[in-house]
Symmetry: D2
Subunit: 409 residues, 4 copies
């Protein structure tokens, strides 16, 4: 696939390679390189934390992580001829772990540091290290599972226009204002501290202006961004709206696999890696197709399973309070049912939670109009387990115990 158009090195400090990185969204971050419609190219990416997580058995790195420098993304990549209103067609041709970092990790973030989807139940930090064996991952911290790869970029996006950026900042500020001291926060405002803006030098007025205005990269928005959609895997095609001349494509936060929702927050199997892309343009595509958000076509090479165990949740919370058609609550309840079920097979809660974040589970909105209950379902592929996880009339017949598998009772 030839030499990467942009190279990074996960074993070197971020500081030494910041000219090809960005960790904020802003139209004025200068492009690192330019490509043309029809081009195929490879870029490399650091893991989302820029190397803050160690391959060890101690989760203090997750617990104490400073989130302000995340995500460490590669770009922007200008596309010649792209104009606002076009659709940028990005084919994700292939991607994989960085040759210098053949492992990944899943983290449960502490409630005090942002938390995750089940943070009220799992308020402490936790970490699992995964080893890559070709298209499979296994973990010394999660016994009995072997997960096939569905590698994908957690983040793939174009630069917002000034106007769009302003809209983001306004609407998010309003939300924060409702409960400014909430832990975890409702949203994250622009944060100049630890901003990385490619070739712009910290301390210059231009850098400081952009750092003050630029949007954080945590949420997905109308430019794509941190969508964390596992199905944007090799073979998929993304359609991204163009908001600025040159489109300014940015990519990073690569994952080896992930479950729908990435529920532990750092729930994918996070990795540094490389990605091969092909770009093209649909001129005036946003008008031609009436779209304002990204869309995509999935890959014929997604891993597919035929056996799932499907857990259901309704929009009634753990204390029995009724919500109105709330799939957030419903999906949480489905996840909690799955955690409980996995505990019956010997997993700790943290192990179960980690599996739901990292394995290619599907999260579906099954019912959304049957007042007052939304119904969400969590689809757990039973084939990722090395033992029979399906219900039988006798109860579980095999269990994991202290990292090993044993006959139950």
């Amino acid at each position: 696939m030839g030499r990467p158009l942009i190279e990074v090195d996960p074993t070197r400090p971020v500081e030494e390679q910041r000219e090809v990185l960005q960790n904020r969204w802003h139209p004025d971050i200068p492009a690192v390189v330019e490509v043309r419609p029809g081009d195929t190219f490879v870029v490399e990416c650091l893991d989302w934390t820029g190397g803050q997580v160690r391959n060890d058995d101690d989760a203090s790195d997750i617990r104490d992580m400073d989130l302000t420098p995340n995500h460490h993304l590669t770009g922007p990549i200008a596309v010649r001829g792209a104009e606002p209103g076009d659709i940028l067609v990005v084919d994700i041709l292939d991607l994989g772990p960085h040759p210098k970092m053949p492992w990944g990790y899943t983290g449960i973030f502490a409630r005090s540091n942002g938390g995750g989807f089940l943070t009220d139940h799992f308020p402490e930090a936790h970490k699992a290290i995964w080893d890559f064996h070709g298209v499979y991952a296994t973990s010394r911290h999660v016994p009995g599972v072997k997960i096939p790869a569905i590698p994908h970029p957690g983040i793939l996006g174009t630069a917002p226009s000034h106007q769009l950026l302003q809209r983001w900042n306004e609407r998010e500020r309003k939300l924060i204002a409702r409960d400014p001291n909430r832990v975890p926060p409702l949203a994250l405002p622009p944060e100049p501290r630890n901003a990385i803006l490619g070739s712009l030098r910290p301390g210059t007025p231009e850098f400081d202006r952009i750092a003050r205005e630029a949007a954080r990269t945590i949420p997905p928005r109308e430019n794509g961004g941190n969508r964390d959609i596992k199905n944007l895997t090799r073979g998929a095609r993304a359609y991204l709206p163009v908001y600025v001349p040159g489109a300014k494509l940015t990519v990073g936060d690569l994952h080896f696999t992930q479950g729908d929702g990435e529920i532990t927050f750092c729930g994918a199997i996070e990795m540094a890696g490389w990605i091969e892309l092909h770009v093209d343009l649909i001129k005036d595509g946003m008008n031609k197709y009436g779209i304002r958000h990204p869309m995509f076509e999935p890959s014929p090479i997604e891993p597919r399973f035929s056996r799932y165990l499907v857990f259901e949740g309704y929009s009634v919370d753990e204390e029995g309070e009724q919500y109105y058609l709330d799939p957030h609550v419903a999906y949480r309840r489905a996840c909690l049912e799955a955690v409980q079920y996995l505990k019956g097979f010997g997993y700790t809660g943290e192990e179960a939670y980690t599996i739901l974040g990292a394995a290619p589970v599907e999260g579906r909105i099954s019912a959304i109009v049957d007042i007052p209950n939304a119904c969400c379902t969590l689809w757990l592929p039973t084939e990722i387990f090395e033992f029979d996880i399906r219900p039988g009339t006798q109860g579980p017949v095999a269990r994991v115990q202290g990292g090993r598998l044993a006959r139950a009772r």
Copy 2:
């Protein structure tokens, strides 16, 4: 498959066959029949409205429908030996349209009569009639689509215990109390009017007591009920908690197909029909597996597609207001993007909305921790269209017009 254990006739008035029907959840509705673990049997079901919808081109039946007598369900069916705490294993062996009613319908409910998921955008009633051609459905009201069957019971549930019923009523009453006059309402309290309780005779004190206490059948709850999960199709296995002696299984609201979320409310292709079931018990299963909600295993015979067009939505509403990790808003935005996209191919908004309700679209929770935006995705299988619905560089090349297909422009 032999003579049905319970027969109904969609061409006869509900009143004449109410002894095998129920439209409320309550532990004291007497069982119609008893089966044993290991039994296979067939029961028939009316369509959910009990015949209130006509096969014509006028949506006034949808607009003016009295919802209090819905859903018209078949049961309860007692399972010998079932006790609270058991899991009832229900294999959905097969189901199909009622021989006397070889057609179905999809309705968009008016905002004033309950509405649907996009009711702010589609406040008026609308109806589409579908003809069944074996495993495919087509509609004279929705040109250019041919939908493969994924038949399923919208409702499959066990009876709640007295205690569970009380909990339901309390939590839903509290929700209603927040905005009692809302249109559409937040939830529906017990409604004695038009209650159908099997063999119990209206006017008796027992009937009146139960009708006052019984829960409506609209929402899914811990007993299963109106989950509207399209994947509970023939070949699937449902695991249902047992709350009362005999379990008291109830089934109905059969659908020929449906999209995840059933977004037009009456969004499935609704039908009267028959269903073949097999039942078994996992004694003390709720403890053995630590579950409190239903779960299921999908069928090897689900229709599968390899090509989808996937629309994304984030939790920012149509007016630009930012919500906190709200998949309800995110899925609505994804649906609206899809409606807009389909309009580019000549569909009216109502036609597009109907397709999203009836076709086997998937609704996925793709990101739920990236504050403040949830990301939901709507997966539209492109193979249900009789023309190429995928994006090309030239814009749409074919369009539907006045019910027919034509080259665009």
Copy 3:
């Protein structure tokens, strides 16, 4: 689906309903009914033997069967406007077991009566009865398996022209002449005895002429016919060449499921049933597409599996003799490997052979140019077994014994 266009009754003698049946191919068999392009209709079919097999535990009916009256097919159905050179497009909309015969059977034919694919290894007659439970079949004669339906017509074909019929007869006669007394025979010449030709009356000169000329229905040929392709299931679309005015479509030999190759000869789960069809025409289609054989598109509703155990065979026979790129030998060796493997799990050879005939196994030509060995593979979906049939380091851990399942050793 309305009243069948052609009805048959599997509980009545063939003799009483022969006016809608045919068991030979000939252009001059009069059409039973006429339909138009665009029509949808249902016809019923006897099982291929016309009721010669009993639901009992004695295989003497298989052993002693007179094959001359088989297959008992329904038709011909004329399609208005069809002309030689057209392609008849037949959508297989749905099919199922006959309401009067809710069971099926699989037979191993004795070597002396035609045999099957492994007849040298299984020279005796054998029978298994299958009960239908919705979309699943189980058998009291084959423990531990539950097979999802892939119902299909074993035979679907158009009438040959006089010229094509003559070609068939000539080429098959030549083959027979090479070894006229072989058991089993190389091919079957026209056989007037027990011919059924619809409304034509036996004993008339017209009947006798046709009976003398007409081709047997055993092999598939350029008109489709007995292709035994399991993938022609509900939802599939067949393209059939038209050779005579009106096309004269004939259908029958319905199967509940079948493995590729139908290796026990009567290897599908044979059933009487009904089938719903839709017909259309591509005028001059054989020229437009340059085809001379049938083709088809499979169904989105085929059962799909993700786990298979795949057995390989090469073109070296059981005695070690080397054949030249012979997939017949290679597939037989793959089947024998699978039989041997299943015996390790407690199955008798006959049970294993029956499973390979009836379950939806796939037979693939994997290598056909690597002189001198063809390599064929037999794909056995492991999900049809109610216990774990995959290899483990310890050897089989569960086995069937006397019809029940037990822990091994």
Copy 4:
């Protein structure tokens, strides 16, 4: 994935790296390296010809190729503790093109040089070069197709014992003796010329003895070998019989994709590359499971399609001669029907033939007992074409012309 255990360089002469290569099967070829059960490792492979094919538009390299030095395989790799009778479990964890050769080729061999499956119809040499774009391949020589990767080793095998080798040589000699001068030949006897035997030095008595006895690597045999099974792709697990101490695993002939049968002989997209393997042992596995041939489990990451056009063939040859249940003839006829069909869309015969060799078509044995006709089917996934290849009532609406796509007529 770490540094390869065995490295090769496709840009260097074979002669310089022959110590890690072998192109014959023999028990006495010394192992290059030793691994242990449980080990994961990477080895690199030359393309099967060892670099004889150029990336240009001239097929003379295919036409004039000396086949005696093929295949250029990597190994043998000894597995510590493996003994005759064990099963070697080989997980194919990942594989891909060699970094120094980012392209591949498909060749049609001339009849005079071995030919291919349709050599009577395509007697001349032909070549197509494919460029790899991540998981897709396209070719300047085959317009309008884009093929997703199903990378796999064409050859994966263990060493034969002396006894087994002797059996191979005897049975193949007997076959050759039936028609020793046939072009192409029926089989290939041991050929000392151009033998490569790893670290053994040519000219030594040991080398000469082995070169005289060793089997050619063309056919698949009981040790696996050149099975050309496309489904042995990344994620699959192979079970290989062990015949000699240490098993002596050999791998090579890597393919980017391939159709079932690899019908053009050099029909896969041939490539140099790397492969990551994991090995384990089932002690005494051949007895435990009663198997004598390799078997495998496919990968959850195979590309999957839902739309196919399926061509049928019967065992009647192009001259109308009838064969007895001969799937070789039947599959050839199905292939010829597909070639004819593709010509209707503007492809040359050579282009069509190349597509059938390289694209992931499936070849199935659909009927093998319906005397005298076998029925084989060729499944062509329509989704690999960049235009609509399915039949319509009007005939083809788009065609390729001179390497480009155009509206038909």
